[in-house]
């Protein structure tokens, strides 16, 4: 009610910095998380130098890391650990999730719901700023004595308990990020449940919105235990309690002067209680994006929409009771291990169902191979690779061998990199025209897509092989001192070179993105992809409040090639077929 007064003459800082408009906030999240993704990528490129050319000085930039981190330009082990821990933390918590939820969720959900904004616009703004503070906290930790956190993104005690001060700041950063996510989850859930346009029943929601709904439910209920764990670790580090330190622990041969009675496994349980739902938080926005783009580019209805919806609901539910498959090697008894193994095997079914429905949808479709669709089509087999390689990890017996090896790294990077990140790229190329009036350049799109697809496989497939050979993860020397690793060590250089070229392959994308923002508008319609969902039934870009009049929905989300219609798509807010 009060917004109408200041809509037109907002000063810069209010319109762009402290906006409560979901579209502006979405862009803020997008810019910030893409920057963090790039930074996290850079951290990895440094790690890959050490793995390819151990003990050799980092060229050109090696001298900038100082004597503590890289004396003579040669990376020391703790620097390698710092890079590893922060690469993981930044990519997961500051990169893919804020991109999938904060950026795409914010930009698209209210529009697809036919709503004027999110349910709590000011809370939305607060979520972004708390997220940014959390991210900056993480970045600041690099400048502390001892550097940033270096105990893995998983921060297991006792190691994390005794880490340098960067770990404490990591915990503080996580508290900010978790708070931001919780506030965001409340906002998304309320918005999706309460602000659906008239006629937009749950079973008429675009699948993207279903993905965001389940994602927010997972964030809401799974993050707080990690926050609790963070508080406990903070108490251990700062107040010298021993929540995670058992009695009789020796450090460097000396018994610790703590009260003892704690448990290292308690941290692992609380961490992975979040950690497993977190991977679905990473996945679901992506699979939502891919579904939207696929449905749009086959020009026929999606196959198995209801099945997909029930599958993700089931997936969300199951995700809370599988977590200890990350802990098979901690000494759990066979019965409880079997329980988690069973639930883990069961949870693989809904993802397979969703992927299968997407694949079946292609059959008989009039497929358009635009850039978003290329990334989407690649997602399906790449994510399937990642998912299938997860099966031996989810089974307790093979996991005894594969746990903490490069196989795990190969597995999760397959799902995240040519999986989720491809979906994020696809979403950028797809929705860019709605918010800017410009389609991104196709040639640059191809220059981005094809090398990226090939190189990601060059990087992560060898890791699966190294893992099968038994090479452990988080090794500073890449396995060089181990006899069992000798046969696969040569892959390190190949992987590293592929990773650096992959970095180069992102340049066409970055150029495309920046140039397309300023080049002349080249889109002549508000709905250039001829889509059925509501976000395309707005002006380009959508104004404040999105819709002049809130739309009324009469049909499902993927009514393509409806018999009797003059066009091969019928938007959701069209009452009678023309």
């Amino acid at each position: 009610m009060s917004n109408e007064h200041h809509e037109h003459k907002l000063p810069f800082w209010q319109k762009y910095l402290f906006s409560t408009d979901h579209k502006t906030i979405g862009i803020q999240y997008g810019v910030t998380s893409l920057s963090f993704l790039l930074f996290g990528f850079f951290l990895m490129m440094l790690m890959r130098w050490q793995l390819a050319y151990p003990e050799q000085a980092i060229p050109f930039i090696g001298k900038f890391f100082g004597e503590d981190r890289a004396p003579g330009g040669v990376m020391v082990p703790t620097f390698y650990n710092e890079l590893g821990a922060m690469h993981g933390t930044i990519m997961v918590f500051l990169g893919v999730v804020p991109m999938g939820v904060g950026c795409f969720g914010n930009l698209i959900v209210p529009l697809q719901l036919g709503a004027p904004d999110m349910a709590f616009p000011k809370l939305n703004m607060a979520s972004y700023w708390v997220f940014l503070v959390g991210g900056l906290t993480m970045l600041v930790s690099f400048f502390l004595p001892g550097g940033a956190a270096n105990s893995g993104w998983t921060a297991y005690p006792p190691l994390a308990n005794f880490a340098t001060i960067g770990q404490t700041v990591w915990i503080l950063g996580m508290v900010f990020l978790i708070t931001s996510s919780l506030l965001g989850a409340v906002n998304f859930l309320t918005t999706i449940i309460q602000l659906r346009a008239e006629g937009l029943t749950f079973m008429r929601l675009p699948f993207f919105v279903w993905g965001q709904l389940i994602t927010s439910l997972l964030l809401l209920l799974a993050f707080p235990p990690l926050e609790a764990a963070g508080i406990l670790q903070l108490m251990d580090r700062v107040a010298h309690t021993s929540f995670f330190l058992p009695s009789g622990l020796l450090v460097s041969g000396q018994p610790l002067e703590v009260s003892g009675g704690g448990s290292v496994l308690l941290w692992q349980h609380l961490f992975w209680f979040l950690g497993h739902p977190e991977v679905y938080v990473i996945l679901l926005p992506a699979i939502g994006i891919v579904t939207e783009i696929l449905a749009n580019n086959i020009r026929k209805p999606l196959w198995g929409y209801k099945t997909m919806v029930y599958s993700v609901i089931f997936l969300g539910f199951m995700s809370f009771i599988v977590w200890a498959h990350h802990m098979y090697l901690t000494g759990m008894g066979t019965a409880i291990s079997a329980f988690f193994q069973a639930t883990t095997m069961i949870i693989s079914i809904p993802s397979v169902i969703v992927l299968t429905c997407l694949a079946i949808s292609l059959w008989g479709g009039s497929i358009r191979f635009n850039i978003p669709m290329l990334f989407t089509l690649a997602f399906i087999p790449m994510f399937a690779m990642g998912g299938l390689t997860g099966l031996p990890l989810g089974l307790a017996a093979p996991d005894v061998y594969l746990h903490d090896t490069y196989y795990v790294i190969g597995h999760f990077h397959y799902v995240v990199a040519p999986g989720v990140i491809f979906a994020l790229f696809a979403g950028i190329y797809y929705w860019f025209p709605k918010f800017t009036g410009r389609k991104m350049n196709d040639l640059l799109g191809h220059l981005h897509f094809w090398p990226t697809l090939v190189l990601m496989n060059c990087i992560f497939f060898p890791m699966l092989l190294q893992g099968l050979a038994g090479v452990s993860r988080r090794l500073y020397d890449g396995g060089a001192t181990y006899a069992h690793a000798q046969g696969v060590l040569h892959m390190n250089e190949f992987v590293s070179i592929s990773a650096w070229i992959l970095g180069l392959a992102q340049i066409p994308f970055i150029l495309n993105l920046l140039w397309s923002m300023v080049k002349p508008k080249n889109v002549d319609s508000d709905n250039p992809w001829q889509s059925t969902t509501l976000e395309w039934q707005t002006p380009t870009p959508p104004g404040h409040g999105n819709f002049k009049e809130l739309p009324v929905v009469y049909r499902g989300p993927y009514e393509y090639s409806v018999p009797g219609a003059s066009e091969d798509f019928t938007p959701q807010n069209i009452k009678d077929i023309k």
């Binding site: 449940i193 209920l221 496994l265 609380l270 209680f273 000494g331 759990m332 008894g333 329980f339």
Partner: protein, 104 residues
């Protein structure tokens, strides 16, 4: 949400009664502790009384008794996930494989 003034008067009377019930059961909790029951029995008794008091607060002060299904479902799932977190962590923690002498 609420209809007439009469309903409100009834509600106010109810809130007062709940208040006194809560105070009484607080005293009951403290007195029960004085019986020095075996630890597990004491815990069960304390939790029963606390749960009862909590349900009074939730049902009446928080209007849960007359809330909508969407809220109930949210709380049911939350409760389920909380209980399963507690139980599964407990079982994982204390059922260890043969040959392991104590919990890590």
């Amino acid at each position: 949400m609420s209809s007439g003034a009469h309903n409100l008067e009834k509600d106010i009377k109810k809130y007062k009664k709940i208040y006194f019930a809560l105070l009484i059961f607080t005293v009951v909790t403290v007195l029960a502790a004085k019986f020095h029951l075996a630890v597990h029995l004491a815990i069960i008794l304390a939790l029963i009384i606390a749960t009862f008091k909590a349900s009074l607060v939730a049902s009446f002060f928080m209007h849960l008794a007359t809330e909508r299904p969407v809220i109930y479902w949210l709380l049911i799932f939350t409760g389920f996930f909380f209980i399963s977190m507690l139980l599964l962590i407990y079982v994982s923690h204390y059922s260890i494989y043969e040959g392991l002498h104590h919990v890590p």
